[in-house]
Symmetry: C2
Subunit: 365 residues, 2 copies
């Protein structure tokens, strides 16, 4: 069987290694971000989210933006991916658009149950003649096994609990999750190795060190979310972006919670998911016992402050991962993608030196 | 300044790279485990815990066990380390024993406040003529900065939230924590680089993939806890060890909580810490609203069942990290240490191949 890297090279022939994808962040990762990431040799994703009524506009924008820049694709696909929130997205409309625009990948996430993705997978493959590759994001070993048994995705995105925005309330970091997903699938798929999906790691990765670590853990590539919030191509306000640059020490200063969903009215997420964001006054008030109605009223008031509504004493939501402290400056999506790729190769070289000049010398003592 | 690897080679001259330490697990990691790990080229730690009244016995046992096996040490130290829980450990008695037995390292953890460690650090260094090196374990960037500014430890153990047993209730995985600790310290210590501690990663690591990932993130070595629970040298019951081997998918199946401390009466831990363990009936009952008195009564009853008291429907506590699913068989501490070291080197070689044969080929397309 072809190596995971070779499969990525075949399915997304414009990519450069190590493979870096941008997360399909809801309302944030639209055509401009996705196209810039792909143009820089990554795999850019548009967040179609739970409401696909705006997706055709994004496809048209992306096609337009890609016109001047020829990227080599497989099977006449569009060199970007589309991410869906499957608890809300409309299947027939989505399939119609996938058939028409043929993105290189469709990323499924957060169905009420994994089995809901069987129809999405089959219809996408049928509609595009298997040209649009299936990515499924999971957060536990059990979800990984179920997704692979039921859908045989091309790619499994293994999301660790450090991830920003929505993820499972109860999970592990990729440091332990990714190797266990790999080993469990390898054991289950003995004799049918062709069904082993390519593993892509997400959650807590923002630079070349995180990418190299993910490769060590068994991933063939990574997905970055929080880091791309620093790119002007992400559709967020200045207040949100400034807070991403400011915030640090994400362990104590971010939290996964349903408080921000309650305030923002995005309450249809399956109950097993919460959104990780920088801790702010809304969260602290909720923990101190403030009722939802009063907290929502204050949130609405805060909206009038514009960019001043973000920050630890503000009330606007700053979805971000624990890695937010490694995001310290604004950079274009192109710069981020290229820099992280180059750093990764530098980290690998440094590791090689540590092993040869350091460990080998140590063992000779 | 000497590289972190060179500093480890100088201070612990018996070690082999990559440096693997065994965690000073309370009541579990005693002389036999520590000595076996050191004899295998790692750094074995005895968990002196919060009550040092038994420490002299452990020291004597360790010295006896080491007698037949000459390990090269620095400054006439004992080639093992001792871990303290500083919220409870008695400083004068500890210092007396450190002076007398001169372990290669003293590992400080969980003081009520970081500044409590200043006296521990200074007195240890004075008592041993700086021969016993200072390891301090932290769980956030803020703690790292404070520990380094106040104590200038030789080693900083960076504990991610995936760790088993006790850790901060609010933290990040090492995937994001370790690089941010590194960068923040490097910036703060500009001009006084000699004060930069060696970084050792812990939390979620059980095999060569986790070690290689930690090296990529910037660690000079790692500490393993859960993996060593599979070694017969760990002082745990068969029921506990069987549950470690059985449990999998640690994200959903372990939890960090104070429930187990309440049941076991270890309630003096500073409030910011909880213990990660496999979810069992005690925890589920507590979440369902059972009062502490009834839950404790049932715990006491369960103790009578012996090894049958462990497991998801049991009530005895199985402290373990999210990585528990990667621990699948009993192995001696020696085998674990050697296997993990060899795996790490194999992972590095594989990464080199992926980069050269995979990514480079990709980029040429």
């Amino acid at each position: 069987m072809a190596s995971p890297t070779a499969r990525l090279a075949k399915d997304y022939p414009w990519v450069k290694g190590p493979v870096i994808a941008s997360a399909p962040m809801r309302l944030i990762a639209l055509s401009s971000l996705a196209v810039e990431v792909s143009k820089a040799g990554g795999i850019g994703f548009i967040g179609a989210s739970s409401d696909v009524s705006t997706l055709e506009g994004y496809f048209k924008d992306a096609r337009q933006l890609l016109r001047s820049h020829h990227l080599q694709t497989a099977n006449n696909t569009l060199p970007i991916g589309i991410g869906f929130l499957n608890w809300g997205a409309d299947l027939p409309l989505a399939i119609e658009l996938l058939r028409k625009y043929r993105p290189a990948a469709a990323w499924f996430y957060a169905p009420y149950q994994i089995s809901d993705l069987v129809a999405w997978t089959n219809e996408t493959r049928q509609a595009t003649g298997n040209a649009t590759k299936i990515w499924i994001q999971i957060g536990t070993v059990a979800e990984a096994v179920e997704a692979v048994e039921k859908c045989a995705p091309d790619v499994l995105v293994v999301q660790g609990v450090d991830a920003g925005g929505h993820g499972l309330n109860r999970g592990a970091g990729i440091i332990s999750l990714l190797p266990e997903v790999h080993d469990t699938l390898a054991a289950k798929l003995k004799g049918r190795e062709a069904e082993m999906p390519v593993l892509i790691a997400g959650g807590g990765i923002a630079d070349g060190r995180g990418v190299a670590a993910s490769i060590a853990l068994g991933a063939a590539g990574v997905v970055l979310g929080t880091r791309y919030l620093a790119a002007p191509e992400s559709v967020i306000t200045k207040g949100y972006r400034d807070e991403i640059i400011r915030a640090s020490d994400g362990g104590p200063h971010t939290v996964r919670t349903s408080v921000y969903d309650t305030l923002r009215g995005t309450t249809e997420w399956p109950k097993r998911y919460g959104g990780r964001a920088v801790i702010n006054r809304s969260y602290e008030d909720a923990m101190a016992g403030m009722g939802d109605d009063e907290n929502k009223r204050l949130y609405k008031e805060e909206e009038k402050k514009g960019d001043m509504g973000w920050g630890p004493s503000g009330r606007m939501t700053t979805y971000a991962g624990t890695v937010v402290g490694l995001v310290t400056k604004t950079q274009s999506a192109k710069e981020i993608t290229e820099e992280v790729r180059e750093e990764t190769i530098a980290v690998l070289k440094r590791m090689h030196t540590i092993a040869t000049d350091g460990w080998m010398a140590m063992s000779r003592l």
